[in-house]
Amino acid sequence: MKERTFVIKNPAGMHARPATKLVTLANHFKADVFIRYEDHQVNMKSVMGVLSLGIHGGSTITVRADGDDEEEALDAIEDLLRDFNMP
């Protein structure tokens, strides 16, 4: 199991488009992927789960991956967040 922490830089926060991209990406991996924001942790493979968090710009999130390809999953998620100007 591995974890990484990111600060969401984009002032708009995790709105619908980046969130769906992120969930689609998470679904590419076998590992279970979770995202934690404040007191809530949700499955990152579920769109409505991730959106329910209402992650705002400037906040800190923790992504946790658990499975054979956990390392690749976290790398890919980090890249995507950077593309969105998120971390």
Binding site: H15, T20, T24, N27, G54, I55, G57
Partner: protein, 316 residues
């Protein structure tokens, strides 16, 4: 595409062939009509001889006022250019000069029971539909509460089964397996079944089913505007789909852009219900309600209020 002949027009509009029966095999290529009043007056510079020539009582009455010489020479000029046919409306009298010219040149002189304006307004959509380029698609077309839904997908994915279930639920079948599409005008895509397949669905394990016999006359519609394309696809986690439906994706068919939805199928998902809801969703959008957009907006409000809360906490 099959050539569209005068004979077909005569049949569909129940016209009388007054003269020039040889001309029944002539081909109509233009959807527009010509009303050759100005030519009867002697000016042939703009004679649209490729078009169907329509005589109303105006043209016919004016013709009677010409001298016999003028009548013969102008009618000869009209026929010599070999237009597809001459059509006389209800109150337009066909003079012998014209009948003779029809027989001589082998061009049909036709008579209708309808008045000129009614005839002209019916002929335009009829001819554009008949003459439009048709393209066949491997798909199924249904009318779901007024929304024409074209269902595509690989063979065996269950397009016909979806159609059967929707028809059983009161929707209308237009075409199954092969849909012929044409543009009635730019941006309006019409689909219909090829003649042999009309009313029929082919269901694996049952065979060919006539929906009109099975469910009654309301189960079939002759043609329908395509307003939504739905692709049924095998469920695949990695597919790049529009999960929230916020993208308003479109697909180009012939030259028309049509809203497009991709629906993954699994054993647990009722494909016909999903197609029905996709149609309802589009209907709502046409009424001005975009559910995905509403959701996205309320999400943005939630993010904003979270950001404010966080700011406040920092301040404390």
């Amino acid at each position: 595409m099959m050539d569209f002949t005068v004979k077909q027009l005569v049949k569909d509009f129940s016209l009388d062939v007054v003269a020039g029966e040889e001309g029944l095999v002539k081909i109509i290529t233009e959807p527009q009509l010509s009303r050759p009043g100005i030519e009867l007056a002697g000016m042939f510079d703009f004679y649209e001889h490729n078009r169907l020539q329509l005589f109303g009582s105006k043209e016919a009455t004016f013709f009677k006022r010409l001298t016999e010489n003028q009548q013969v020479s102008r009618v000869d000029k009209l026929f010599r250019k070999q237009p597809p046919a001459f059509l006389f409306s209800k109150n337009a009298e066909v003079s012998d000069v014209i009948k003779n010219a029809g027989n001589e040149h082998g061009i049909c002189v036709l008579k209708s029971n309808e008045r000129t304006s009614a005839l002209a307004s019916e002929l335009w959509p009829y001819l554009t539909a008949k003459l439009a380029q048709r393209q066949s698609f491997h798909a199924t077309l249904l009318n779901i509460n007024g929304i024409g839904v074209l269902i595509r997908g690989e063979s065996g994915i269950g397009k016909s089964e979806v159609a059967l279930e929707l028809v059983r639920n009161g929707h209308q079948l237009v075409a199954d397996d092969r849909v012929d599409l044409y543009e009635r005008e730019a941006g309006t895509l019409i689909g219909e079944a090829p003649d042999v397949l009309k009313h029929y669905l082919e269901i694996r394990g049952i065979g060919v089913v006539d929906v009109v016999k099975l469910f009654g006359a309301q189960a079939f519609k002759e043609d329908q505007t395509v307003m939504l394309v739905v692709d049924l696809v095998d469920f695949d986690k990695q597919i790049d789909e529009d999960r929230l439906g916020i993208e308003n994706r479109k697909e180009k068919l012939i030259n028309t852009w049509v809203p497009h939805a991709k629906i993954p199928i699994t054993a647990a998902r009722s494909a016909s219900m999903l197609v029905e809801v996709a149609a309802m969703n589009l209907r709502l959008k046409l009424f001005g309600t975009d559910m995905a957009k509403d959701f996205s907006e309320s999400l943005n409000k939630a993010i904003e209020s979270n950001a404010k809360k966080a700011k406040k906490n920092k301040g404390n």
